[in-house]
Subunit: 229 residues, 2 copies
Amino acid sequence: MARPTKQAQHINIREAIKEVAWQQMVDVGAAELSLRAIARAIGVSAPAIYNHYADRDVLVTALIIDAYTSLGDYQLAARDSVPQDDIRGRLHATGIAYRAWAHAMPQRYQLIFGTPIPGYQAPPEVLPVAGRSLRALVSVIDQACATNVLNSVAIPTVMPVELPMFTVWQQHTGAQMPEALTVAIMIWGRVHGLVSLEIARAIPAFGRTGDGLFVYEMEAIEKQFLVHS
Amino acid sequence: MARPTKQAQHINIREAIKEVAWQQMVDVGAAELSLRAIARAIGVSAPAIYNHYADRDVLVTALIIDAYTSLGDYQLAARDSVPQDDIRGRLHATGIAYRAWAHAMPQRYQLIFGTPIPGYQAPPEVLPVAGRSLRALVSVIDQACATNVLNSVAIPTVMPVELPMFTVWQQHTGAQMPEALTVAIMIWGRVHGLVSLEIARAIPAFGRTGDGLFVYEMEAIEKQFLVHS
DNA sequence: TTCAATAAACTAACAGTGTATATTTACAGT
DNA sequence: ACTGTAAATATACACTGTTAGTTTATTGAA
């Protein structure tokens, strides 16, 4: 038999493939992702995957897009759990959410920010959703800028050659002011640096609950970029 | 013939293997490193590699150790190019050197801080040399601490459970004061965060020469952690 | 000078990977 | 009822890391 009856098939195989892929990442790590193993787990031949994803990279891209979306949602929810006029609180919550998300699903984090897939190069279609994952942070900084509580003195401007890329980023992140995006990138770098070292288990845990260093960093960020009344 | 005459062999095959491996990383990226391709480039059968490295991971470990050593040397040299009493200058030079090294040899950087090798887990033997790569930064912070110009107010302490690991790190980095290591880790996180995003081409270049954001960050670091006279 | 031991190469093979090709078949629409 | 399409199939290819068994050049000792 070349094709089983419909009832034996998954309702939505595309989703099933991604689910199994995430499960595999949890089990054996993002680097060991294997099309054949996914097919085996679903109970289908390996080339059957190609009916739903053109090749491995397309599948990986779909996973990355999901991960970025999840990260973005997580941060937006965290931001909105704090009153709109509490800019400092919103900034803090967004940073904490970034770290919490990474610790809750390190495979997704590694998939986005590590380079676990040999030969994989992210295609341009992830750009919008990658930008969206910065929206929460950018919006807070933008609001700080608009209400005149942003300290971005002497912040550098983007290189002329990079201006097209920067403009695209501004659109996808929804940044009103260019310097808001620049500050967001700086904050992102700091948050990401610490979190990536934590995820890689390169640094020990600090404080009573393990997030001491990160909280210290968030407070330093707030002190540096928000004018304190 | 099962074994060629001695003159046809490399003088030091272990080194030749590593050289070819680095070349491959430059050519096709760290993720696509292949034992067979290395053997092919040297003009030798694939299993012959196993006479010199027990398996792929051992070779990768050797490469990582070399990379860490190179990174450590680079930063120590940068530190020593500035007079010993100029702590701020030494800190700045060390940070700039970290970034310069990463940009000069992104493959080495990716090998250490990315996770480009499927299934590879760094063995404990890289710990000393990884610690050594922090020595330059740690020594400057230590000196700042000793001369009472370090601002580490309210810096958190390591979790009790992590204290053994922290102590080992203190030894390998040569940290005199525990808080010096903690501050060094924080600074490392910030420098690493920005640099890793740059290397991944996740953020655009700023300023006239492309290092605007990084220089801005270094100055912020200096302002935060060094008491300004 | 002869001889055995060792180290380092070899070939062949195994299990795994992503992917291409050509084939078969269940289902939907006319 | 027939046909076109979509989705599965088996088979095959070129890779990968790794193991096993074999062969030989070189070295040190008798």
